[in-house]
Symmetry: C2
Subunit: 109 residues, 2 copies
């Protein structure tokens, strides 16, 4: 997979994941890894940034399986950011796909 494609899209994926239910970092790593290849050093700084930007609020919950889990909860600002990003992604990806399709058309001629 091209590493560069991920840029910017990770934020969308993480926002989507958290929008369904509150999540903690480690859980997000597992979830997000199903879709794109990432390591934990990518997720935690991203969560920090999104929290600084007021898209997430956090709270701690003790765990019986290890250290306390820091949960991330989406804010209304985060929801707004999510729908903005989602729309922006859909427009972007479909315009690229259309360009690819057009290219394939003109190759036939």
């Amino acid at each position: 997979m091209n590493a560069q494609f991920k840029k910017g899209v990770l934020e969308l994926i993480v926002l989507l994941c958290v929008s369904h239910k509150d999540r903690y970092g480690y859980e997000l790593i597992v979830e997000v890894s199903k879709i794109v290849d990432i390591n934990d050093g990518t997720i935690y700084p991203l969560l920090k940034r999104l929290t600084n930007e007021k898209y997430f609020e956090t709270y701690l919950v003790e765990s019986t399986e290890g250290p306390s889990r820091k949960y991330y909860k989406i804010t209304s600002l985060g929801e707004a950011r999510l729908s903005e990003l989602k729309e922006s992604w859909l427009a972007f990806s479909s315009s690229i796909n259309e360009f690819i399709r057009e290219s394939e058309e003109s190759d036939k001629e």
Copy 2:
């Protein structure tokens, strides 16, 4: 448009453009701008990189409308890179789109 989405995709767009016919830099700026927002400071370094990586060969052609044009021609290595990138993009974008769709499904529940 989200600036980050562009990362990596520009290379695909430029390869696609050049694969149809030889292009010069300024022409590419005009072409590529139709699809994504870019400035010339993005294109020229990219063309240099792709040429260094042997995806393009270049030749100069004099112009009656200004300075000589440096044309870029795709190599067979470049064609291979293009189909690799294209496939990689299609797989990537469809997996993201599927994830978005699934999210919307689970929102209804």
